[in-house]
């Protein structure tokens, strides 16, 4: 339980750049370090986080539940969202400085691209686990085109992909 709390607190405190960044963090800690989830469950948890409304950090509920039931779910969700809560309030006092401070912007300018690299790395790992044959490759490609080219809504795309999987798989 303590591991769970501190792992998610840490993830909440370091995921610069939005919820997507959480994916490589969770992959490294929950799957590789602690073995709380299998690769398969991890992908499924992310998928469920995408089809529910709200931020995708909500996937942490699944992990918390698996580790320690309902209390684990509450703990994981609380721990990952707590840093966000305090950061946002602290930001109210330092808004002006944050906006203009060149050092802050230099740091963020460094972190920004790194975070994309990390998301890509997690994407590769997930792709290895879920794009396993011709139809999953074609499906992934079709979804990518739908989102990037036709600006389709991501949760709709995921639901459609799931429905096709139900028919084909």
């Amino acid at each position: 339980m303590l591991d769970l709390f501190f792992t998610f607190l840490k993830i909440g405190a370091f995921t610069f750049g939005g919820g997507m960044v959480m994916i490589p963090f969770i992959e490294q800690d929950a799957v590789r370090t602690f073995g709380w989830l299998t690769q398969r469950e991890f992908v499924d948890a992310i998928a469920m986080g995408q089809i529910t409304p709200g931020p995708i950090v909500i996937s942490s509920v699944f992990i918390g539940y698996k580790v320690a039931g309902l209390a684990g779910a509450v703990l994981a969700m609380g721990a990952i969202s707590l840093p966000t809560f305090f950061y946002s309030i602290a930001a109210a006092y330092h808004l002006h400085r944050l906006k203009t401070n060149l050092r802050v912007r230099a740091i963020l300018r460094g972190v920004g691209p790194a975070v994309v690299g990390m998301i890509l790395a997690a994407g590769f790992v997930i792709a290895k686990a879920s794009v396993v044959n011709i139809w999953t490759s074609l499906l992934a490609l079709a979804c990518l085109v739908a989102i990037v080219r036709f600006k389709a809504d991501t949760s709709l795309v995921i639901v459609a992909a799931g429905a096709l999987g139900l028919l084909l798989g």
Binding site: Y87, Y93, L120, G169
Partner: protein, 209 residues
């Protein structure tokens, strides 16, 4: 604007906590598709319908979301909640926004644990998995493209990718290293194109969720 709780106009009516909670429960339950669609919804509810915040305040909240760790929308609503009603406003916003998706995810988790092994579900999740790969690739594409305009940011991106894939560098260490690299690499004002990130008016191109 020394006291962050005072809006720049000062004419905005005091927002009821219950009212705030109601609006956020609704946004939390209907905000599908990641940060940008959610911000568009918030823009409608907070600004267009109710004038709780000005456009400038809304843009600032989005910027807070982008600078601070954590999901962009959660940062933004907590920040605006604080500016509207202090600590209680922040707490109510934060809680009401997270609650609907928490309950939905909990329900899905229970279903998954009960029926996850059923053959039909395996096909379903194979499809979902392929969809997730596409969503991540699309996010990386949108977020990553601007970074290829500068050799330094392009190298940081590729360095982080390879560091994580090949060397399995710890993710927290990677973020810290990238921040330090940023301090060393970007020293001139010209290193910072188009000022701090903006785009809160709901038409912003998605970057992260």
């Amino acid at each position: 604007m020394d006291d962050p709780r005072e809006g720049p106009t000062g004419e905005a009516p005091r927002v009821g906590l219950l009212h705030l909670a109601g609006v956020l429960l609704k946004v939390g339950a209907t905000g599908f598709g990641g940060a940008m669609p959610m911000l568009a919804l918030l823009h409608t509810e907070y600004l267009e319908k109710r004038r709780w915040v000005s456009q400038e305040e809304f843009d600032e909240a989005v910027m807070v979301g982008q600078i601070m760790p954590g999901p962009i929308a959660v940062d933004a609503i907590t920040h605006m909640g604080y500016r509207l009603r202090g600590w209680s406003g922040a707490l109510v916003s934060w809680f009401a926004f997270i609650l609907p998706s928490f309950l939905l995810m909990l329900a899905l988790t229970l279903v998954y644990r009960r029926y996850g092994g059923v053959p039909q579900f395996i096909g379903l999740f194979k499809g979902l998995g392929a969809g997730v790969v596409a969503v991540i690739a699309a996010a990386a594409w949108r977020m990553g493209r601007p970074h290829f305009k500068d050799v330094r940011t392009a190298c940081l991106l590729l360095g982080a990718l390879l560091g994580l894939l090949l060397l399995r560098i710890n993710v927290v260490l990677l973020v810290i290293l990238a921040g330090l690299a940023g301090l060393v690499l970007f020293r001139k004002p010209s290193d910072f194109p188009p000022a701090p990130p903006r785009g809160g008016s709901g038409q912003g191109k998605g970057d992260g969720r």
